[in-house]
């Protein structure tokens, strides 16, 4: 019997999320629907405070929606325990944030290998880390500390760290926010390259329409809902 693959890598159904404020609850997400196929690249744009990061956090299992459902490979994340969610974050999705958040005490190579510490399968991780770092142009800087790298380089290390466990989905939250234009374009190039080469879906939150337009789909988060842009 052949295994039935679900049609979508991830599917968001009527996602809502609100936060408590001084003047009552603030509804950030008011019913977000989204379907992501493997290997897709989606840009999410919207004004500050519209809930882009909240959406990404929910997709990555860092936050739980108030209602609605997130299906990953056909399975609902809502039934996941904290441990299963951690495993999900470790194996299936990966984050790249505006700040690289590299551990200053570890070298570039060690930072990249950090996720493997809690992975079930660690075979070949070292070689993969070397190859990926080589691929992003950091092959010469394996044993450098984050403080010795430029902002763009740090962010590239963060990308490699995100990919070390071969995730199916990369969630990038303003990855270029702290970079200059040149580095920002280079980083997006890299992400798209990896998206193509590794067949990994990419969801990127950005303010930059120019960068967003380089991705295959563009969605706008407006008034708590996601609107697909043509």
């Amino acid at each position: 019997m052949t295994e039935q693959h679900p049609p979508f890598l991830m599917e968001l159904k009527s996602l809502t999320r609100s936060y408590a404020g001084t003047a009552g609850d603030i509804d950030v997400l008011k019913g977000v629907d989204l379907k992501i196929q493997a290997g897709e690249s989606i840009a999410i744009v919207g004004p500050s405070g519209c809930g882009k990061s909240t959406l990404l956090n929910c997709m990555g299992g860092l936050d739980r929606p108030d209602s609605g459902e997130i299906l990953f490979k056909g399975q609902s994340l809502s039934g996941y325990s904290a441990k299963e969610l951690a495993r999900f974050r470790n194996k299936e999705v990966a984050f790249v944030l505006q700040q690289h958040h590299l551990l200053p005490q570890c070298t570039v190579l060690e930072n990249v290998l950090i996720p493997t510490l809690v992975a079930r399968e660690r075979g070949g991780a070292y070689e993969r880390a070397l190859a990926l770092l080589e691929e992003v142009g950091l092959g010469e800087r394996l044993h450098h500390r984050p403080q010795e790298l430029s902002g763009g380089e740090c962010q590239r290390v963060a990308v490699v760290r995100a990919l070390i466990n071969r995730p199916g989905l990369l969630l990038a939250d303003e990855p270029t926010g702290s970079l200059n234009e040149e580095n920002a374009f280079m980083l997006v190039d890299l992400l798209l390259h990896l998206n193509r080469e590794q067949g990994m879906a990419l969801v990127m939150v950005t303010h930059s329409l120019a960068l967003a337009e380089r991705l295959s789909r563009l969605c706008r988060l407006h008034d708590g809902k996601l609107e697909e842009q043509p």
């Binding site: 956090n57 936050d63 441990k83 951690a86 958040h101 005490q105």
Partner: protein, 1088 residues
């Protein structure tokens, strides 16, 4: 590359964040070191006291001490007869020593020297080789050698207090003026403390002044042939065996009792102490036909016209039908007084009061019978032999310790009677009448006569002996080794004392290390968020950071253990030098137990580990997003808008009222120990104050103050950003201020009130002690004295680290003290001396404790008129008596520290053999102290009189307290330093967190001056609150002690100390700000 693992990452984290971790490490190190050091100090003190206790007993496990009375040496031999070993018989006497050829008035003289006449059996117990010495050669101990600068081969002069079989106060005791025997000795060697030189039966760690001489030589010298007063048995004996052997072997003659054959009239029981003890009389009178009698020397027997002086009288059953107001006289007396049957005669005699005053009493008798002289031949034989009376040729040679009329002694008729009839009684009365007149605390009977049918002395002796328990006569071996070890076990625990005084310091160190760890975690929140985002489960994250904390704690604790041993060594060094007074100059030897190290480590690291684990748990429970994005310079639990709340004020008010109520109750009830209440109240007030401050900050906000928004208000708002952290800053500094200020307040100026009657000197200028007892207080122009009786025991004062089992006792005259108003409370309560005169229902003897410190530290007991503790004590006969602690002199420190006070009456009835007075309180009038001291020491030098000003005596006692206060002041200073350091760290942390914000303020046009004002207001608020809390808590916690001690604390020192403490906090903060000052506003802004 090294294989990446969780421990490796933890290690890298530790190394990378070494700066902040160093602080945590140091905090744990410090707390562990303080705990470990204090515990090691306790162990060392205990171990040293244990060693001293064993060395001072010189191998003896049991001792039978017979003070002021003597046993036959042969009894010791009989006890060991046919057994493995023989108890050692020792003659223990008191003496004064001075270098040979010295003049006691001008040269160094050492009083209260213990002269020990010993033989081979003593050295056998000590395990030492017996010295090969000759008569007049002595071994002296190290302390005496030091005091007199003597070495082997030197000579020294000794004035040995003359022992007497009879108590010197007893009626008819010999009244020789010579109180001491002077002898020259050659120092054969100096005996080390560990080799028996420290020998002492008192539970004290201080070595006495000891001289060891050949026992037989000493016995010959003081006319106590074959008599000793101390038997010692080694560890090869046990108490039951000793008791059994004593019961089997003791004979009447061993305790100075004799069955004297009276020509043709059987045997008569007599004592070499003249008066028979009650137990002996009871046993003797149980023999069929036994009759007791009491002989006495009356001052005069007279009619209205005629009188005869100094006559022997006898109370017995001389005539069956004699009534108590009737007397039998001899023919000689009838002729002398021209009396006939039916005539009245007046008998006058002296009664010795407990104050050693001879009061003449008189009683009227009617002559019932006149006995012809021919009948009285045998009566002379039956009178007991009075030393100094019976053995002299003429009445004028009589040597009796009572005032005698020289003219009356020369009475020719009386002299003629003495020549012919010697002690033959002139007067007989009934026993009840005799007992009423002449019975005394020394005994009621002088002889017990047995019927002539008892021909066999041995049979008679056995019959009497079988009815006497040897213990009732004091023939009892006490388990001195066991008691000594018990005394050490109950001794003041220096370790816990230090731990107690380091409490706030430890808390500060822990608080600081936990705070630093928290900072480090906040700093690394992004790291934690990243790891969570990368798929680290919360438990693994917790494990990773917990591992870091554990490594840190293990390392800090390990280093703390090592530092603790160093700290203990430093404390011991301090105790051997600058603070030697705290342990009365005893050298405390370093002693380390592995268990103590572990306990110190566990206590020093356990608490911070628990706190850190809790912080970790809380932080790891946060969402990754929060960890990545949250501003940790703001407290999470803060409401977005401050809510007005009075809870902080209410909490503060409740705390304050509770503290005041507790201390008010303490002031009224006056518990024996104020220390626990001081700590409890202090901790309570500090805790409540800190929580109130935190609560206040949490709820302080703009609310309705927008209209008055100012820079100062903005500064206050800055404080509210992290109420917990600011409360911690206040806590750190307040703890230090509390401790240091309390210690400063505890210092006392003894001189200030020394002249007051209510002070610890009693208002008496001088305090004197003599080695030999004086029969009355010395009186010289301008000097008046209150004499005190003295019974040596254990020192229950601060100079003794052991727990005193049987404290020294002074016998005082309560009436004289009341009259002088001495040592009485300033508070107008009932006079404390009255308590000594009140009989107690259960037969216990009322006793006052020398001062409050003795109650607290020396006895650890309760002294109260109704609920006072009972101390079991042995009277002279070895009977257990109850001393009820009905009160204490109402001051922290008095000249009677370490002692108990009994009324003279109770003292003399319990210890009749403690003759005369050995302590004196002197009042001066028109004579300078130095002159009076010189005069008294010169005139009373033969009795070994040592006089010092009462203030000097207080100062000597206060040395201990002063040394402790100095030590604790150092701990307090450390506490303040730590508090100031903590405040600096917190200021630096806040500064770093707010760099961007400040840069922004500058960008908005704030001047340096404005920013400085912001900082100053913040800092001043913290310092003020810390000062208020620490100072206020200290004042309230100390209030009862200050009020009860009737003395004012050193206010100027307090104020100066307080200012210094606040300055140290301010300095530390300013330094922290200077160190964290930004180089560029732009950089800060960019970072922001």
């Amino acid at each position: 590359m090294r294989k990446l693992s969780i421990p490796w990452v933890a290690w890298r984290g530790l190394c990378y964040h070494w700066r902040i971790h160093s602080g945590v490490f140091l905090g744990i190190l410090l707390s562990t070191a303080i705990v470990t050091g204090a515990l090691i100090l306790g162990d060392s003190a205990r171990h040293t006291l244990h060693s001293i206790a064993l060395s001072r007993l010189a191998g003896a496990s049991y001792a039978c001490y017979y003070p002021n009375r003597y046993l036959k040496d042969g009894l010791a031999e009989k006890l060991g007869h046919e057994l493995h070993s023989t108890p050692a018989a020792v003659l223990r006497l008191q003496a004064m020593a001075l270098p040979s050829g010295g003049d006691s008035a001008t040269q160094t003289r050492v009083n209260r020297v213990q002269v020990l006449g010993v033989d081979e059996s003593f050295w056998l117990i000590t395990g030492m080789e017996p010295p090969r010495w000759k008569p007049q050669e002595a071994l002296i101990n190290e302390r005496l050698a030091r005091a007199l600068s003597l070495k082997e081969g030197d000579r020294l002069a000794l004035r040995i207090v003359k022992p007497s079989l009879m108590a010197l106060d007893a009626p008819l005791s010999p009244g020789s003026d010579e109180t001491a025997t002077r002898v020259q000795l050659k120092v054969r060697g100096i005996i080390a403390d560990e080799e028996g030189g420290r020998f002492n039966l008192s539970n004290e760690q201080r070595s006495p002044y000891n001289i060891f001489v050949p026992r037989h030589w000493l016995q010959d010298l003081v006319d106590l042939e074959e008599k000793s007063n101390l038997f010692l048995a080694g560890e090869d004996w046990d108490e039951a065996l000793l008791r059994r052997r004593m019961a089997e072997q003791w004979r009447l003659q061993d305790v100075g009792l004799t069955l004297r054959p009276i020509t043709g009239r059987g045997f008569q029981l007599e004592s070499d102490r003249i008066f028979l003890e009650e137990e002996v009389v009871t046993a003797a009178l149980s023999v069929d036909g036994a009759r007791a009698s009491l002989a006495y020397l009356v001052n005069s027997i007279s009619t209205e016209e005629y009188s005869t002086p100094y006559s022997f009288a006898l109370a017995n059953d001389v005539q069956a039908d004699l009534k108590d107001d009737e007397a039998v006289v001899n023919e000689w007396l009838a002729e002398k007084l021209h009396i006939q049957i039916g005539d009245s005669i007046t008998v006058r005699w002296f009664v010795v009061t407990p104050a050693n005053e001879f009061v003449e009493h008189s009683r009227l008798f009617q002559v019932k019978t006149i006995r012809p002289m021919a009948e009285l031949e045998k009566e002379r034989d039956a009178m007991p032999l009075f030393p100094g009376l019976s053995d002299v040729e003429s009445c004028t040679d009589w040597d009796v310790g009572m005032p005698m009329d020289e003219e009356a002694l020369k009475d020719k008729d009386n002299e003629a009677y003495w020549d012919e009839w010697r002690q033959t009684p002139k007067l007989w009365v009934t026993l009840p009448a005799g007992l009423e007149m002449w019975g005394s605390r020394f005994g009621s009977y002088t002889t017990v006569r047995f019927p002539p049918e008892y021909e066999d002395e041995q049979v008679l002796e056995e019959e009497i002996r079988s009815k006497i328990f040897p213990e009732a006569l004091g023939l009892r071996f006490m388990p001195v080794r066991e008691e000594a070890l018990q005394s050490v076990a109950e001794a003041l625990d220096l370790g816990y004392l230090f731990l107690g005084m380091s409490f706030f310091l430890i808390i500060s160190a822990l608080l600081l290390s936990v705070l630093l760890f928290k900072f480090s975690l906040q700093q690394r929140a992004g790291e934690m968020g990243t790891l969570l985002a990368l798929g680290f489960p919360g438990s693994r994250l917790l494990g990773l950071f917990a591992l870091e904390a554990l490594i840190l704690a293990l390392a800090g604790g390990g280093a703390g253990m090592l530092a603790g041993t160093g700290y203990a060594r430093l404390l011991l060094l301090g105790l051997s030098r600058a603070w030697a007074g705290a342990v009365a100059g005893t050298e405390i030897l370093f002693y380390l137990k592995p268990l103590t190290l572990f306990t110190g480590w566990l206590a020093g690291t356990g608490l911070p580990l628990l706190a850190v684990f809790r912080i970790l748990q809380r932080q790891c429970s946060l969402q990754a997003g929060e960890l990545l994005h949250r501003d940790f310079s703001q407290e999470r639990s803060l409401p977005a808008a401050p809510v007005k709340s009075q809870k902080g004020w209410i909490l503060a008010l409740i705390g304050l009222l509770t503290g005041l109520t507790v201390m008010g109750t303490v002031f009224i009830l006056e518990p024996p120990s104020m220390a626990p209440w001081f700590f409890i109240t202090g901790t309570w007030l500090l805790t409540v104050g800190i929580f109130s401050w935190r609560h206040f900050l949490k709820h302080y906000g703009l609310a309705d103050k927008t209209a008055s928004f100012s820079l100062k208000h903005l500064a206050l708002l800055q404080l509210t950003r992290r109420p917990g952290r600011n409360a911690a800053a206040v806590a750190l500094l307040a703890c230090g201020i509390f401790l240091a200020l309390s210690v400063i307040s505890m210092q006392e100026d003894l001189q200030k009130h020394a002249a007051e009657r209510w002070s610890g000197t009693g208002g008496f200028e001088l305090f004197g002690e003599s080695t030999a007892a004086l029969s009355e207080a010395p009186l010289y122009a301008g000097i008046t004295a209150q004499p005190l009786r003295y019974r040596q025991g254990d020192d229950a004062g601060c100079l003794n680290l052991n727990r005193a089992a049987s404290p020294h006792i002074y016998g005082v005259d309560p009436e004289l003290m009341k009259k002088a108003g001495a040592f009485d409370s300033k508070r107008g309560e009932e006079n404390i001396w009255t308590l000594l005169q009140q009989p107690l229902a259960d037969g216990a003897i009322p006793a006052l404790v020398g001062d409050r410190d003795t109650v607290l530290w020396g006895l650890n007991a309760r002294a109260h008129p109704v609920k006072g503790d009972t101390l079991l004590y042995n009277d002279e006969s070895g009977n257990e008596i109850m001393l009820r602690l009905v009160g204490a002199l109402p001051m922290r420190l008095s000249v009677f520290q370490g002692s108990l006070l009994l009324s003279l009456e109770n003292f003399t009835s319990l210890f009749p053999s403690e003759s005369g007075f050995r302590a004196f309180l002197f009042d001066l009038d028109g004579i300078e102290s130095e002159e009076a001291i010189r005069l008294l020491q010169q005139k009373e030098g033969k009795a070994g009189m040592h006089v010092e000003t009462s203030l000097q005596r207080l100062e000597a006692f206060y040395t201990v307290e002063r040394a402790y206060l100095h030590m604790f002041l150092l701990l307090g200073a450390l506490g303040v330093t730590l508090g100031a350091l903590g405040l600096g760290v917190i200021t630096a942390r806040s500064r770093i967190e707010r760099r961007g914000e400040w840069a922004m303020l500058q960008a908005l046009g704030f001047r340096q001056r404005d920013l400085a004002l912001l900082l100053t207001v913040e800092l001043v608020m913290i310092l003020l609150v810390a000062g208020l809390l620490g100072g206020g808590a200290s004042l309230i916690a100390l209030l009862p002690s200050l009020l009860l001690s009737s003395t004012l604390p050193p206010v100027s020192q307090q104020f100066l100390g307080f200012l210094l403490m606040l300055c140290s906090g301010a300095l530390s903060s300013v330094a922290a700000l200077a160190l964290t000052r930004s180089r560029s506003v732009l950089d800060d802004l960019r970072r922001e």
